[in-house]
């Protein structure tokens, strides 16, 4: 297993093409725009070495028997599914933001099961190829990004009907030694600080889309892979100040990139699906299930820190004993624990796939994420309510330090006498970063937009059985007899 610094050093050995604000970045590890995201990801490595967290961050590989970081593990039991959620809560508490490594982890679990299914039906060798890849991931403790979302172009058209064929990643050439692909993947969390990308299809497909039914691994610095880092709320602050960042060590959100694949060659050993369109939908659904399972872990962990920040801010303002403040704090906890309950429930109700790995219950995983899309906004709204307007108007760190006006900022931003203004300002900034802007959008759309969850819930709802239950109670039609 790597430590956080070994992870950083391993990134330094790579040479990805990364662009930010129109400039090509020479060193991802050292650029202030990326340092917080790398710190967050690095903690997934460092916490594996901390005795307090070892039981959650590490496990034994079912392939080799070696001790591995849980982020490289394929879930083998209900205990594994539950441990994943608890791991995410622990990380969320320590980071207060997204730590990015989950997408690739969930992608690997989905690809593990789908490659097995493809091989069973088609006699292909994808699963063995994937196992060889996975062993290397485990041995070298790699961080793999999960690259699923295509730009999609005109959403009313299928991939093969798009005016721009690159709206979805597709195969443009097949060779003896591999394939060449074109296209891009959007919103790729941790893309610029991963060792490579696990590229997966984003929707179910038909026969005419066969060239788009492709899944493969590509190193982050493979020729033709270009990353354009996305802007985030207040991202300039990462390069210009410390305190005003709010969470200067770990940032406010994962750090997403547009990953362009410009005639990228992928050797066959790294191709895990190529044309088996009938399995694309399964891959998407299993990835989505695995990823939606998470959010009651990570977002609840982040909410734990947010509740703490909100209470500290209330204490700095002398409002913590007000009944409405206590009620709102309780509601924030209630909403956060509801999400955790959902993640634990879908994990407990998980089951084994034909490949032998365990997956969370899809219906409950989608319920988890759909609740996240509401609860995180409400938790944030309550935090804003308690914090007050100071959240939107606090002077800058530079003004606090200014020889001209610093004394006024220190005097008038102070609440209770025992808490310095600087402390109050730090809390305001932490709250601001955690609840205003990009972090909220990530909670809404990460792991799929709300409508995607509703579609899955609708499919899994078993409405016909629910009708029969009602008919039985209302004594409509034939009454099935219960066997006593």
């Amino acid at each position: 297993m790597k430590t956080g610094n070994q992870y950083r050093e391993s990134l330094r050995k790579l040479n990805p093409q990364v662009y930010l604000m129109g400039e090509k970045i020479a060193s991802v590890v050292d650029h202030p725009a990326f340092v917080p995201h790398i710190n967050a990801a690095a903690l997934t490595y460092d916490m594996a070495w901390a005795p307090e967290f070892e039981a959650l961050l590490t496990t034994k590989s079912h392939l080799t028997g070696e001790k591995i970081n849980r982020y490289t593990h394929i879930h083998q039991s209900h205990d594994d599914l539950i441990a994943k959620v608890k791991m995410l809560r622990a990380l969320g508490q320590q980071v207060g933001s997204c730590f990015q490594r989950c997408v690739g982890h969930d992608g690997m679990n989905a690809v593990y099961s789908v490659t097995y299914d493809i091989d069973q039906k088609k006699g292909t060798q994808y699963h063995k190829r994937f196992l060889d890849f996975l062993k290397r991931v485990q041995k070298d403790d790699l961080m793999i990004s999960g690259a699923m979302t295509d730009p999609k172009g005109d959403r009313s058209l299928s991939p093969s009907k798009q005016k721009d064929p690159d709206s979805y990643v597709h195969v443009i050439e097949k060779r003896k030694d591999g394939i060449v692909v074109n296209g891009a993947k959007a919103h790729i969390t941790g893309g610029i600080n991963s060792h490579g990308h696990l590229v997966m299809p984003t929707i179910g497909m038909k026969a005419e889309d066969a060239d788009y039914a492709v899944c493969f691994y590509v190193p982050v610095d493979a020729p033709g892979v270009i990353h354009v880092f996305g802007r985030q709320t207040n991202d300039d602050r990462k390069c210009s100040c410390t305190m005003d960042q709010g969470n200067p060590e770990y940032g406010i959100v994962g750090g997403e990139a547009l990953v362009v694949l410009e005639k990228v060659f992928v050797p066959w050993e790294h191709v895990f699906m190529c044309g088996e369109y009938e399995f694309a939908g399964d891959l998407v659904e299993r990835f989505a299930t695995a990823h939606r399972q998470n959010y009651g872990g990570c977002k609840t962990g982040v909410s734990d820190a947010l509740v703490g920040a909100t209470l500290l801010l209330a204490e700095s303002q002398g409002s913590e004993k007000a009944a409405h403040v206590r009620e709102k704090l309780v509601e924030m906890v209630h909403l956060g624990e509801t999400l955790y309950a959902c993640s634990i429930a879908c994990s407990c109700q998980g089951y084994a796939m034909p490949a032998g790995n365990f997956m969370a219950d899809p219906l409950l995983a989608n319920v988890t994420k759909l609740n996240v899309t509401r609860n995180v906004y409400e938790i944030s709204r309550l935090a804003h309510d308690i914090a007050g307007g100071v959240l939107a108007t606090t002077p800058s760190e530079a003004d606090l330090r200014s020889p001209c006006v610093g004394k006024y900022v220190s005097k008038y931003l102070k609440g209770v006498d025992t808490v310095p203004a600087e402390t109050r300002i730090k809390l305001v900034r932490l709250l601001e970063g955690m609840t205003c802007g990009t972090a909220l959008v990530e909670a809404l759309h990460g792991a799929g937009s709300p409508q995607a969850q509703r579609i899955m819930i609708g499919r899994q709802a078993n409405l016909e059985r629910k009708k029969r239950l009602a008919q039985k109670l209302a004594k409509i039609g034939d009454q099935p007899k219960l066997v006593c």
Binding site: P51, E54, A55, L56, K86, M87, R89, A90, G301
Partner: protein
Amino acid sequence: MHRVAVKYCGSCNPQVDLSRLGAELAGMATELGAAIVPLEQGDIDLVVILCGCPRACGNKSEVKARARRFVLVAGHCLDGKPVSEEKLVLSLRQHCLTFIDAAKDT
């Protein structure tokens, strides 16, 4: 020198400060006539299982099997008896001392 191992639950959302408990235990080891060793080393006299809540995820048979005796902290509970966090360190010390003394007598 008695060999004592510490096993944490995983600390997903601890109700008590497990890191502080672990540090206090390490601090009092010499006074107790003990050395804190990794559980994997074997020949453990006492394993202190530190769990952050009553779920006690660290309370596993394979963990207890690696030591002659065990002490279980599960949130505000020490070996099944409620203990406030303020008194947890002292109570843990007493428990460890009792086990170590008992080990001397056998």
